[in-house]
């Protein structure tokens, strides 16, 4: 990272090849659409490049990059959901959860799980409100602690734990037949 900060092209290429697929998956998890993830990946790297002088040697690179990506994600949600300019992570979570509640009241949230296991699990994750999905993604797929996730998303550790608790609870319910299958 230090080499990249001082303008080394090869160091950037290494950093990019390590981080870009992870950041792309982060956006895919939040927005699903590939084109959106592509655009936001580009925006994130441009912001990261501009902010590289603010990087300190004692920082871990991935959480720093994900913090920038999380801000890009929040900006995109602000734009899409017409949240206030200062609408923070919690405002987004509230808006998301209200929307998810309405959807679950009007349609059956639980789908029959059959066929391809991986596809079924993916659908179960996609069925979560985005504010919970992002926590699950960072926790399960990026192996971040709840404290690290809170820092990345700019919220409290308690709020992150609550979202994770709800998300894992919902997934346990939806995926119960598969869990039982594994047990038997």
């Amino acid at each position: 990272m230090a080499a990249y900060v001082s303008g080394d092209r090869r160091a950037f290429e290494q950093l990019f090849s390590r981080l870009a697929p992870r950041l792309h998956r982060f956006f895919r998890r939040s927005f699903s659409a590939e084109a959106t993830a592509d655009d936001l990946l580009q925006v994130t790297f441009l912001k990261l490049h501009k902010a590289r002088d603010t990087y300190r040697a004692d920082m871990r690179v991935a959480p720093w990059a994900f913090t920038i990506a999380a801000r890009v994600r929040l900006d995109e949600f602000r734009r899409r959901k017409r949240l206030a300019e200062d609408g923070d992570e919690e405002a987004l979570a509230r808006a998301e959860e209200t929307q998810a509640k309405t959807q679950s009241e009007t349609s059956s949230h639980r789908e029959t799980i059959d066929g391809d296991t991986a596809e079924a699990v993916r659908r179960a994750v996609d069925g979560l409100p985005e504010s919970q999905r992002v926590v699950i993604h960072l926790n399960r797929f990026e192996e971040m602690t709840f404290a690290e996730i809170a820092k990345v998303l700019g919220t409290t550790e308690g709020a992150v734990k609550l979202r994770a608790f709800r998300a894992y609870g919902a997934l346990r319910q939806v995926l119960q037949p598969m869990l039982a299958e594994v047990t038997s």
């Binding site: 303008g7 080394d8 092209r9 950037f12 290429e13 990019f16 870009a20 697929p21 792309h24 998956r25 895919r28 998890r29 590939e34 993830a37 592509d38 990946l41 580009q42 790297f45 441009l46 490049h49 296991t117 991986a118 699990v121 993916r122 179960a124 994750v125 699950i136 399960r140 894992y168 997934l171 346990r172 995926l175 598969m178 869990l179 594994v182 047990t183």
Partner: protein, 234 residues
């Protein structure tokens, strides 16, 4: 770990823990596709282009540092070559040392330094106190000394200008300007350590040998500031 220790003695919690493990394992299957090569190329293109320009700019800065440093050494050697007086002794050793410092400082200023001209001023001042003593000013000789330093600074400046254009740049960079004028003036000071009859008189050296170095740096900064202002307007 404490949860696992507890689960060993509590069947309900052991079951919940096992459920959690199974759920996490199951979630591992919810992988996402890799980004396309096109998306990756698009996301990195602007940054790679910018870093490429920085690389190219550094390469040119390295070449300029070498050429202008050589010019600085030449501006020191030329007056010495024209002198009829025999060279040698302590004064020549000091002169060579200061000329070397001038060349190295020029290279550092152009290639890496962020401190505008401090090296040149510090070296000139240090040499004045190392070689000078007494209280003679010698203004008549002093004007001649100042003119020589102005000439060496201008020569290095012209060399820097020519090199800058030869390497495809349109304008003299701030660092190159400071390196050339500061280094050229300091090379003049180094030559005067041998050529000036009053090079051991501290007031004379401070005013007419170190003074022009400061003046050259001031001129360089003034030109650089004007160029920056013009660039900002454009």
């Amino acid at each position: 770990m404490s949860a696992e220790a507890h689960a060993r003695t509590c069947a309900a919690c052991a079951r919940a823990l096992e459920d959690g493990r199974r759920l996490l394992a199951l979630l591992g299957q919810a992988t996402l596709p890799e980004p396309s090569a096109t998306a990756l190329a698009r996301a990195s293109a602007t940054i790679l282009a910018e870093l490429g320009e920085i690389d190219a700019s550094r390469a040119v800065a390295g070449k300029l540092a070498a050429v202008v440093s050589a010019a600085v050494l030449a501006t020191w050697a030329l007056p010495l070559a024209l002198m009829r007086a025999p060279l040698g002794g302590r004064a020549l050793a000091f002169s060579i040392a200061l000329a070397a410092v001038a060349a190295v400082s020029t290279a550092l200023t152009i290639a890496v330094s962020k401190r505008d001209g401090l090296l040149f001023f510090a070296a000139s001042l240090a040499m004045a106190f190392v070689t000078g003593s007494g209280a003679t000013l010698g203004p008549a000789v002093g004007l001649h000394c100042a003119a020589i330093e102005a000439l060496t600074a201008a020569t290095a400046g012209v060399a820097a200008w020519v090199a800058t254009h030869a390497f495809g740049r349109r304008t003299l960079d701030r660092r190159v300007l400071i390196g050339a004028l500061g280094g050229g003036a300091l090379a003049g000071h180094a030559a005067l350590d041998v050529g000036c009859g009053m090079s051991s008189a501290l007031p004379h050296v401070l005013v007419f040998h170190t003074g022009p170095v400061v003046l050259a740096l001031g001129v360089a900064l003034l030109i650089a500031r004007r160029a920056d202002a013009r660039a900002a307007v454009l």
